[in-house]
Symmetry: C2
Subunit: 299 residues, 2 copies
Amino acid sequence: MRIIECIPNVSEGRRAEVVDAIAAAIRGVSGVRLLDYSSDPAHNRSVFTFAGDADGVKAAVLALYERALPAIDLRTHRGEHPRLGAVEVVPFVPIDGVSMADCVALAKEVAQEVTTRFGVPTYLYEEASLNPARKNLEDIRRGEYEGLAAKMRAPEWAPDFGAPTPHPTAGASVIGARMPLIAYNINLDTNRLDVARKIAAGIRHSSGGFRFVKAAGFELKERGIVQVSMNLTNYEKTPIFRVFETVKREAERYGVSILESEIVGLVPAAALHATAEYYLQIAGFNANQVLENKLRAAE
Amino acid sequence: MRIIECIPNVSEGRRAEVVDAIAAAIRGVSGVRLLDYSSDPAHNRSVFTFAGDADGVKAAVLALYERALPAIDLRTHRGEHPRLGAVEVVPFVPIDGVSMADCVALAKEVAQEVTTRFGVPTYLYEEASLNPARKNLEDIRRGEYEGLAAKMRAPEWAPDFGAPTPHPTAGASVIGARMPLIAYNINLDTNRLDVARKIAAGIRHSSGGFRFVKAAGFELKERGIVQVSMNLTNYEKTPIFRVFETVKREAERYGVSILESEIVGLVPAAALHATAEYYLQIAGFNANQVLENKLRAAE
């Protein structure tokens, strides 16, 4: 089986009819399975997760643009989450029988097609990036939609495809390839935002922490607690259990304990198996010892 | 998909040609997949693991008897592991799309057929047992092959199928249905066998421990360490992480730490996922968040 996962983020999280219409467009593409979609009204943003082979996910991305672009106008869009595009970011992720190189090639092909067909300038990011200074989504997005026209005039921020002019209502898109990402939050048994922020600063790559962790501290006001909100961008090299244990230890420093953690959306089974191996100190374990893997391998 | 797993234990672990011939007989049954087999020469015993639908696993069990019975003679069999039959125990385990009741019905059907076709008296055990005093394999096996003729003469030990007389070379068989079993060992960083034995006594059901744990302490002489060797017979009700943490805590009592643990053979993915949930304190997790589960559910 050749499976690529695609997880576009779209700048609409309040109008359910728009979000549902986009979901319906993805479902309408044969050979593609819509696995999940969810909206955050405060962020005014939705995330769609689907999977299929290269042709299928390409067709689904184009169907998504077709439905989203007429419905979203960034000139009037407001939300807590930074954004520079109506269809903000489109990552392709290798899941099964597909290499990272395959996903990079697909990202380039789709980015070119989006520009040609819809007139939206596109940037390539992460593994598909052609330029080390433009690998991170956050760097590309800095300045947001409102600052995009000025930013694009600088030669170093010319898009990879299309003219250096934002699409009037849709801004630009960031398209690329990456490892599966785990959206992982740890809630702390305190209302001290400074503690969540200090811990986030200690574990994230940008300020000296783990190579594949992005993190920020947030307040969950309605619950009177704080959260270390993370993206784990390579769970093989920076595993979830090491991040959890470090957060726990850092919290102890402030007399704070972990209330709970949460996985937002999907997690690869291998990330959970590695966690069990670590805590149970299992020696010599291999994936073929998982009953379900063994059954499928024998099919 | 309707999948039943079957894990027969056969009293031969030294003659590779006999073990391989049994494996070949199982492989020869269409619709059945041989997942694993391994032999323990000290125990003089082998374990076969295969899966398929009810008709398939029934045919594979009969093929196994056909090959094993002429090759094994318990009158001359010696090994460290207690045994009462050439084909000692045949459990059926529900894996996917099959209920425990289905497996109980299959166990009764196969037990009757084994007695009719091969003249081996059979006992029903675990979920298939008709008698609460004959639920546990250990109780049925007590006295072993050598004591079987005398034991069978007692009315309470008449077999469920067949005359109360052992098969001359093959003894009797114990056939039934049960939950997936996890064979799990914890190695301790000490050579004190008394510590392993005390911990085993503390955690196993028979002496006051967890409901679904069988345990014994062993010496691993060649490594100069000891082992708490366990069978976890219902990982949903007595989860692996609770057993691990209890062994760790009990070992601390003697100033001993855990060196490593090992899973022998196969483990259901759900047992590993529950372990990750526990240690990472994950709130509100469900199996559909596992990427691979979601992909399969959408197929």
